[in-house]
Symmetry: D2
Subunit: 161 residues, 4 copies
């Protein structure tokens, strides 16, 4: 059966919540198609990224049901995804164009519940070496409370051609 | 405009890849509706969880385009999501029924590229205290190569009633 | 044989370097006796601690041969000792008098060689909860270069009476 | 005044505990002179190291007052020193002779009090790459209880000639 037909069938009996999620999914596919986000997970999280000179990168995401664990709190893994994305994107900004940066390790401390309207992640530089970059990332909720702190190492490698 | 109509419009011009992802999204909503997964991110990752006596928990996920970063490799944040889910689920198994466990910190070492057919995460116990549990998690790809290693701390708290 | 006699015998044939270390050891015992440091390792490292309102603690140590690894660089373990001491001492300052704080985890990123005249460690607060404190620590060498960055968790427990 | 004379003066009024520590210090200088340990901190901790084929390294240390924090428990920093030493020594064993390995990061989880007669550290390999090695370390007390768990990254560099 055609996927379009399958969606129609599913949505006929869908709850309000399911229709909202179906809408988030469709929105995510459009963001990916339009190049707003380069990855599906970035599109699902609706990541907006902003680089600030000289060495800071900010990412903001709305809080949606897609991000929540069974306690309706931002899933710790998605907090880590946001942190890894922000620190990694900043690392890419800071290395030569013919290089790539891969995460070799990341540690996250979770210090408060992820609730509220949206989340903001701020990535900064701890150390910028020619072979290894060490980054710091912090995630805040809309009321300004810090919910997670991370440090991560990014190894500089030649870019795949 | 109705969400069902919006999906139909989008899918009319969709690429093969977009139709595949639309299918994964629909599959995910069905897994959530049927209670196969308790969270949307678990359903999107198609997590299958298995507890083994006395103290091991295994999670398996297929490798889909939803999980990949811009280099077509398993996103480090989703690796962390899998690890946090497996270690956290194991923590819940090991504490009294009137308690909950929250992740206070997690560190992941990324040691090989996440590629291949599926990924398997194995969570085990490093320390089981009455207030704090320390867990270990490992993620393997289908060919048996270890791709990530994690340790995490889980704080035991009273369950919300 | 009496320990005093043993020292005399050893020092009779000692090299210049050994006499210097013997002097550091004696100095350390005096610091401990005079209460300048509360622990032998603190006295050996000649830790000087300074608390700054509201939430910062600084520790300074001279660079001596006692601290060096086989490459004549500050031993990573002693860097960790300095960081744990500074973050832990700060944690103690910030909790009620009838409580103690124990390190539950610490992660250190080593980013430059520990060489030079002395080292300065600065500990600050990431999160101050009633049960868990998360601290940040940085170690600098005399020329101002950051050599290590740490985060650590400190669990608040009742003080032993 | 001569260092030998200074030791004599100090020891004349020394407590039993101070004489014991003076003896540990002298013992440490002898271990260093005899090449039993390559570093002062290794000699002070009386580290005995044993490599087991193919990929395990064990270090054992006696529990002495030199190692204890103000609560008479093994200092978390010295636990880290033991772990870094064991993991680093194992890393050196596993790389080509013209290479060196430097610690780029280490995370330690402290899970039980360090008390008892002696401590044993076991280092094993998580990942052995050509540029980066990831190690695991565990510290046990004499009664077999795990007191600390660590993971660490070791970067392979050309040896200084």
């Amino acid at each position: 059966m055609d996927i379009s037909q399958q969606w129609e069938d599913f949505l006929r009996d869908a709850t309000e919540e399911e229709r909202d999620v179906a809408s988030l999914f469709l929105h995510s596919l459009k963001r990916k198609r339009d190049g707003v986000n380069g990855t599906h997970i970035g599109a699902l999280m609706e990541i907006k990224s902003e680089f600030q000179e000289p060495d800071t990168l900010t990412m903001e995401i709305p809080n949606t049901s897609l991000l929540q664990n069974s306690l309706d709190i931002l899933h710790g893994g998605l907090t880590a995804t946001l942190l890894d994305s922000a620190m990694g994107t900043l690392a890419f900004k800071l290395i030569p164009e013919d290089k790539a940066a891969v995460t070799t390790e990341m540690k996250v401390n979770y210090v408060a519940k992820g609730v509220g309207d949206h989340f903001t992640c701020v990535a900064t530089v701890i150390h910028k070496g020619s072979k290894l970059l060490v980054m710091e990332g912090k995630v805040y909720r809309s009321d300004g409370t810090l919910i997670a702190h991370a440090t991560g190492s990014f190894f500089v490698i030649p870019k795949r051609s």
